[in-house]
Structures are given as structure tokens and as C-alpha cells.
Symmetry: none
DNA sequence: TATGAATGAGAATTCATTCAT
DNA sequence: AATGAATGAATTCTCATTCAT
């Protein structure tokens, strides 16, 4: 009883620290952010952070984990339904870009380290992109088999499906103001181009 | 005379250090790479590096500068010629991806810091992407005016032109093996999809 | 009544903690052992330890105290009896070495700190060695007066009486396997040499 | 040339740091002594110490090494000469106790950690005591074979040879003032008792 | 009384930078 | 110009101790 409550408190505090960490790290970068800064921002003592995370690196891994875990659900649903190609594409892309938008600071905090630390990269990759690839590859194969798509390497095509949004993310991370400001327009635009690319010259406005 | 020779020597040594820096930084990341490591890899003493660069950060800026300066040439050429749209696209994309391939380690070294340091990002952006955007935007406007392209925001479209290769770069940086291995196939594939997107269902090889 | 019972409980728990402390400290050394480790080993919470000991150092002093207090009895007995020299020697040495054997972990826990902390050293010295010295000095003087022993400084001789067993203890603490394994043989051997030294070329079994 | 000189300087500074370390550590104990204290005492910056020793523990190992290396010479000599038993004993004991006296602070610094850290103990043991034991055991066997000594386990006897001086060292480490003050008398006294023990009721003063 | 999360002082260690040679 | 030892600020992390529950 009190145990459950305790657990809730602990989880809450853990998340508090993670949220604080995201903000500061997104601003200054992981390596340039000290535990002291994170602690101060979270309103706790330095040592407290070590009650929740084994070390500074673990904090980053926890960020990746928190990012990858709950979102997975959305994908599973997409997988189970036998979707109309158009809907499939839309769902997939929208979901990707919606997450990039809502979790932008997390990506900003994580991605630079991800490029530098293979373990972290693998963690993020396995958590977010691998599943998408698998679904996409599977789906694309179906389309090819049904003759709705010209034959090609599904691995390549799956990656091309993700590439535009990833590219926009990277450019935004590198400070592209227009992408930052007009993210939603890009969301639409990407969907449009992908539709055209993968489903032929479709009829749209 | 002796002065010129001196200058050449100095430039050579500077580049020696930069090349060493790229290798080590690409492997371990900028923050995790110490001046000592770079110096050792370059075969000079720690202090020597400070004869060529004001401080560690300057080294990174020098990398960006060296990356942006000579390559600009390729773009200028593209700009001056009144190109056939198909050729324009091909040239642009190929050039982008060729550079990403040949300078991969530089990108690996630079980009994580770029995401974290706005000044650096600006430097890279202004040096590499802004010019491309300007040319592309300008070119796309022409196409629209000529009715060869449906109307749309040229800023968005220009960025969509770059996005796929940027996305592939990011995924490769994050350790995607297939992209690393089959970069050339992706180069072709990107060109194909962009052609289809921007120039309609074109005739492919 | 309930008070007495309470007191017993408290003493029991105190000893529980001390016993746990001995085990962990003997294994890792006092400074390298954290309160957390001791608490865990004792099956109590960190804070609980502070209900029984003012601070970490007090725990060590308590160990010394517990070691010195009850054992004193054995000495008193030795003192009161007018012993045959041979028996005196035997009793004294056996008792020393028996205690070293049975309380080895305590010595292992205490002695390193004892060397470093004068107060602690004094505590142990006054509790264990001083009394022995006093008895021994007194006894040796008697023997000299009776001409049974060549004249000499009783302080020196008393210390020489203890030195061999102390030396063996130290060597064992430093990891001498043979001494650890064959402690009993050493007990005999020490007795034999001391007999020869202090009581002349005696008749041995 | 300049290289040799450099090397000398480096060795000198290393020894400067070691000497400073001995003084401070002997006073407060290794764990309670911070690198800062040692650096201050040595008149160098904190970081400088890490130019000479990989970490704090290495400093301790260096102390042991410096203690064990040069002294070994004395033993080798003893080994090669076919000594008169009396002379052998005297040399051995004197050497031991002379070293304990002259290097007392080193022992004070080292021994507590030695008890707590098996690796360190092994290092000291192998460096100082093992050689003595080997020589002594070998020598004692000879004596036994020649019938000059009653038969017994040479391992035990060798250790009994060392035990008294070790015991005195320990007692002195634990703050025994008389031993500290009258070390030389103890040196003589130990020799006398060992002579009596191992060589029979010898004729002396 | 017992608990164990929070605290923050203090320790070891790293490393960019300087500067005497 | 090149060197590399010295520096000390800054960082991560530990852990004795406290205190609200």
C-alpha cells in the first residue's frame, strides 16, 4: 500500500530528473552538461541523481529507453491491421514526424551521443528504427508481390521511406529555422512526395 | 621565396593535424578525444597544436571551414549553367552524396558537435546547405514559372530535395550497416525517387 | 522488567551489528567498507546503525572495547596465582595466541586502523598489551630477584615475550598461508623457543 | 645527453613525490590522505602526481617497489657466503631490524594497506620476506643435516626467526613508546634470544 | 525505533592550456 | 617552431550522516 505509493513517488522523481536532464542537455549537449547542472535544474542534490541512475551515461540510456518503450505500441497496431497502402504510408510517416516534433528535445539530447557511442546508437536503432524497417520491408514486399510496386530491394526502399523525415530532423537539429517553424508543412509535404514515389502519381490537390 | 616555402610547410602541417584529428575524432567523438590523442596521432607534441589552432574548439571550426571552402566550386558551376532539370537534379544529388561518402569521417566528427553548438552549425549550414538551397530554390521557382512543376513553397521543396540524402547520412552515422555498405545503391535510389517526385513519372534506365 | 528486556534486545542488536561489521571489515578493510555494506550484512537499515553508534569511527572503537573487556578476566586469574614459571609462560603465550586465532577477524579489522589512529591504538594497547606487560614485567622481576633469570631490562624482556606471537599475527595478516594453516604448530613452537630463551635449555617432550 | 639529464630530473621528482607521500601517509594513513595533501607536501600540483603515477594506488605500489628493490642486494650476499651460523643469524636479524628502523615511515605507510589489500601484501611479501625465508630455510636445513640443530619444520623455524622483529615492528607501529625509543636495545636483545634458541645456550657477555 | 531517500562535502581524476627550454 | 612537463579548474562519483515518515 504505502509501498505502491513509494514506488509512484520514486518513478515520479526519476522522471523529474529525466525531464530536467532533457532540457539542459538539449541546450548544451550531453558532454558539456555537468551533473551539477542537471541536479540544479531538477531541484535536487548532485548525489540524488546517483540514487536513480548508476552514472551519467546511464541517464542517457534511460532517456533512450523511455523514448523507445511506450511508443512501440503505435507500431504494433499498424502492423496488425491490413492497411490500405495509402493509409499505411500516412500513418507511418505521420507517427514518425509527430514523435520527432513532440520529442524534439529528447532527440536533440540523444542523437549527438548516438553518433558517437555505438551502444547507444544500437539501443535507439533497435528501439525505434528497426521495428519500422521490419514492418515497412514486410509491407513493401507484399505490395511488390501484388504488383502494386516496381520490384526493388525492400531494405533500400524501407530506408528511403524514413530518410526524408530523418533528414528533416537532422537539418532541424542543425538549426534550420524554416524546418523548425514549419514542421507541420513538412509533415504534409513529405507524405505527398512519398505517396508519389511509392504509390505512383496519385491524385491530390 | 623562403617565405612561400615556409607557408607551404605550415599549411601542410596544419592539414596533417587536421587529418589526424578527423580520424581520432570520428572514432571517439570530439569531447571524448583529448588534444594528447590528436597530437600523438599526428606525430606532434601537444603544445604544437596550439601553434596552429587557438584552442580545441578552433580545430573543429577549421575542419568545417576546410570542408566548406573548396567544395563550393562545384556548386558555382552548377549555378552558372542553365541546366536541363533532370541533369540539375542528378548533379546536385550526386554531388551531395558523393561528398557525404568521401568526407564521411569529417561529417562523423563534425555533425554531433554541430547539433550541440549553434555557431558551428551555422558555419556548416552557411557553408554547405544554404548555397544549395539558394540555387535549388531559384531553380525550382524557374521550373514553377515555366509550369513544369506544380506550385508550392520553394523553401520546402528545396529542403525536400536534400532531406533524403541527409536522412541517409544520419542513419549511417547512427550505425546503419546496410546504408554504409550499399551507399552507392542508395545514391541511385535517391536520385530515382527525387526524379519521380520532382519531375513526374520519368523514364528510368 | 520490560526495561531489562529492552536492554537485552538493544545489546543483542548492537552485537549483531558489530559481528556483521567484523565480517565485512575484515574482508575489505575499514575505510573501504561503507556503512551501507555493514547495514546490509547486518540486515538493518543504514540509519539504524546510527542508533547504536555515534558514527562510523565509534563502531571501530566499540570493536576494540568488546575485544578488550571480557578477555581481561583471563589475565587477572594468571596474576593472582603464584605460578610456576613454566606454567606461567605457557598460559600467557597460549592465551595470547588462542585469542589471536579465535578473534582473528577482529584483529584483521582493527589493526590496520590501529596503526593509523593513535587513539585507537592506545585503546587496544591499554586494553590488551599493557596489562600483559605489567604482569610479565612484574613476574620477570621476581624471577630475576630469585636468580632464576639473568638480569636485564624487564620492559624489554616482557616485550620479547609477546613479540613472536605478534610477529606471527602480523605475518598472517599480511597473507602468510603457512602461518594461517598451521597456527597451532606455531603456538607450540613459540612456546618452546620462549621456554628455552627465558627458562634455559629446558627438557622438552 | 639532455635526455639523460631529463631522466635524472624525472626520477628525482618521482622520488620527491614518493618521499612526500611517505611522510603524509605515515602520519594519517593512506586512505585518510588525499592526493591534494600529498601534492601540497611535495610542492607540486595535484595533476603533476598523475604524470608520475597512474593513480593513487600505484603510488603505494611504487613505495613497496622502491623498498624491496635495492635492499635485495644485502640478502644475495648473505646467501653466497658460507657463513658461520652465528654470523648468519646476526647479519640477518640486524639487517631486518636496521631496515625497519631506517624505513619505519615507509612501513607505517605500507603495512596497514598491506593487511587490507592482498595484492600489495603479496608484493611486499615476495619482495622482502619470501627471499629471507628461502635463505633461512635452506640454511636451517643445512644446520639440521649437520646435526647442529634439532630436527623440525624449516618453514616454521624460518618464520620464528623473523617473528620477533616483526612483532616488535607491529608493536611499535601500534604506538609502543619503549620500543620506539629503545629500538637498538631490542635489536641486540632479539639477536641474543634467537642465538640461544637456534644455536643453543651460547656463550655471550 | 527503524527506515532509507536526500544531502552535499570531499575525493580522485582528467585534460585543455601554458611556458620554460 | 617544437616540445612536453606542470598546472589547477572542473568533473564525476562516493558515502557518512541526517531526518521526515
Amino acid at each position: 500500500m504505502s509501498n505502491d505509493f513509494q514506488q509512484t513517488l520514486i518513478t515520479a522523481r526519476r522522471n523529474l530528473i529525466l525531464d530536467a536532464a532533457i532540457e539542459v542537455i538539449a541546450q548544451h549537449g550531453f558532454q558539456r552538461t555537468s551533473i551539477k547542472q542537471i541536479a540544479k535544474h531538477a531541484g535536487v542534490a548532485d548525489g540524488t541523481i546517483y540514487n536513480y541512475f548508476k552514472n551519467k551515461d546511464e541517464l542517457l540510456h534511460a532517456l533512450v529507453k523511455r523514448l523507445t518503450e511506450p511508443e512501440a505500441i503505435n507500431l504494433q497496431q499498424a502492423q496488425q491491421q491490413q492497411l490500405d497502402p495509402q493509409v499505411f504510408l500516412a500513418t507511418e510517416v505521420q507517427e514518425q514526424m509527430r514523435q520527432m516534433q513532440s520529442q524534439f528535445d529528447v532527440f536533440r539530447a540523444i542523437i549527438p551521443e548516438t553518433i558517437v557511442d555505438a551502444t547507444l546508437a544500437r539501443s535507439l536503432y533497435d528501439g525505434i528504427y528497426q521495428p519500422v524497417f521490419e514492418i515497412a520491408e514486410c509491407y513493401l514486399k507484399q505490395l511488390m508481390d501484388q504488383g502494386k510496386l516496381p520490384t526493388g530491394d525492400p531494405r533500400v526502399m524501407a530506408r528511403l521511406l524514413i530518410a526524408p523525415s530523418m533528414g528533416l530532423l537532422l537539418m532541424r537539429l542543425m538549426g534550420d529555422d524554416h524546418i523548425e517553424t514549419a514542421w507541420e508543412s513538412y509533415q504534409e509535404a513529405v507524405l505527398k512526395t512519398l505517396t508519389r514515389t511509392f504509390l505512383g502519381d496519385s491524385d491530390e490537390d
